[in-house]
Amino acid sequence: MSKQELEKVAGNGLINRRHLLGLGLAGVGVAASSSLLGADAGMNLEIPSWSKQPGPGASGYGSRSKFADDMKRLSGNPNPLYPGGGASRSPLHQLQGSITPNSLHFERHHAGIPDIDPSQHKLVIHGLVRQPLVFSYEDLLRYPMVSKIYFLECSGNSGTLFGPNPADGTAQSIHGLVSGAEWTGIPLSTLLDEAGVEPEAQWINAVGADAASMGRSIPLNRAMDDVMIALFQNGEPVRPEQGYPMRLFVPGCEGNISVKWLTQIKLSTEPGHFRDETSKYTDTRLDRKSLQFTYPMGTKSVITSPSGKMKLERQGVYQVSGIAWSGRGSIRRVEVSADGGRTWADAMIQSHQSEKALARFLIPWEWSGGDAILQSRATDSQGNVQPTRTSLVTEKGNISTYHFHGIQSWAVNTAGDVANVYA
């Protein structure tokens, strides 16, 4: 098949996503690259050494290939003035699909990871309830559970993009505070009903068992909705850095509210006004008023490949791939531009489109060796469209740097270098 048969659907080389469906593109891709590459041509293939001797047998706990062990979370240096505090970011540029392996799920801790013995851990529900209750881990394991795939994103993810100058970073360093997993747990409403919510209760105050005793408040109407007490993550017990033995999980909302190491739920008429919902995780507007309890994460997408600090080695067809999500619904549409937002083409959404989960998108793009600016723009099931960076920053200002969900731009120069730019 020749290049001419590829249907261009937007400026600067974007190719109709329908080419992903048949063999068409694969054929073209191979043809295009082998004609340019040529290096392997004429090489005789031999049987490799690993095909000539048995390998090690089964093991109790699996590990990844030593050839793929460069995939790591990115974290800052430990700070003695902030013991246990800080974050690590998922290697978005190396991951595929829409589920993040547990060992690569992003982290944010305010006082480190507590080493909790589940047989000693308690979950208390009290305050404005008919009967205050205490649950052990064993008790909770006996309840019927639900499993759902959700994204989790730190409120501060991509916050650097509020700044005046574009960070010279990667998809991981800029956007890596988002991950996706299947969470399994008990609907919070089950346990609240068991304790018997008093009619005057309007809020729950959730507190963790870490050294910061992280506290957050959630309105009761939300708490009775799709909030769960998560005990499992991708099938295994929630990892210590994600809240073992249990965390609150509030789908679609800023990560901090999904309180880890959950130990206390107190029902009250008013929110607790904890430090992390007053001093932090609040959004000061240009008029100096600050929005409090801004939970949902915005409609957002990020191109993970090609992305910052990658290099396109040769001209030809590339798969532009990334993730999209919305705290208010499912992802209905992702458009991609290769000319800085002048023209757009619809990407294929590869994964199932479920509520408040990561969706993987893909579109073929032919790089002709010139300058290009790659952008993606998501639309969710509520009709929310991801805004441009300029309109987001104009509207929100940059006093606060939470909830960045604007369109981000990767520039490709004629040398094939990819860099974050403001366009």
């Binding site: 009903d193 068991e194 507190v207 050294a211 910061a212 005793s213 008013e270 100096r288 409090q292």
Partner: protein
């Protein structure tokens, strides 16, 4: 709504009573009753209504000594901070430039200061201060911010009277879609 919920819970209760020994299968009501008095040492929540404040108290003058030995290594001798995140004093929400947001300029409720210091500070030894020490050290932080007099005995009653400069600066967005 709550009536309905009550009826459902009652239904579930009588159902599990009928189910008797097979309650494990139906899994309702596995929590054990506990009383609020049993939770007194466990519940650290100190909301703005003052309901969470313990006994004890003291002044900023007493708090200065605690601050200088337990807090200043990370927060600076005058609360100026060792980083933007650890600055505790100063700032002005109405400043021309980007406002510096601290306990003094930004926090809407004094209760949050009690609540947070009691649960999370000092960061290298959280929950190591007595209730009176918490009152004293937060009195010093409030005093450095010009919010209370150094001689004021801060306790559950006087803390309830403290007005923060930015108390009207917040908008509850919890019901925004």
């Amino acid at each position: 709504m709550s009536m309905l919920r009550k009826r459902i819970t009652l239904g579930a209760l009588s159902f599990s009573l009928c189910a008797g020994i097979s309650s494990a299968v139906f899994a309702q009501s596995l929590g054990s009753p506990i009383s609020e008095s049993q939770l007194r040492g466990f519940d650290l929540i100190a909301p703005p209504d003052g309901s969470g404040y313990p006994e004890g108290g003291g002044t900023a003058i007493q708090g200065k000594v605690i601050f200088e030995s337990r807090c200043s290594a990370c927060h600076g001798m005058e609360g100026e901070g060792t980083s933007a995140a650890t600055r505790l004093v100063g700032g002005d929400m109405q400043s021309e430039e980007r406002p510096i947001r601290t306990v003094g300029s930004y926090w809407p409720h004094a209760s949050t200061l009690f609540d947070y210091v009691q649960r999370a500070m000092p960061a290298d030894a959280p929950k190591s201060l007595s209730s009176s020490e918490v009152y004293q050290v937060i009195a010093y932080i409030l005093n450095m911010n010009g919010i209370i007099e150094a001689s004021l005995v801060l306790n559950r009653d006087s803390l309830q009277q403290v007005q923060m400069p930015n108390k009207d600066g917040f908008i509850d967005s919890s019901q925004a879609l």
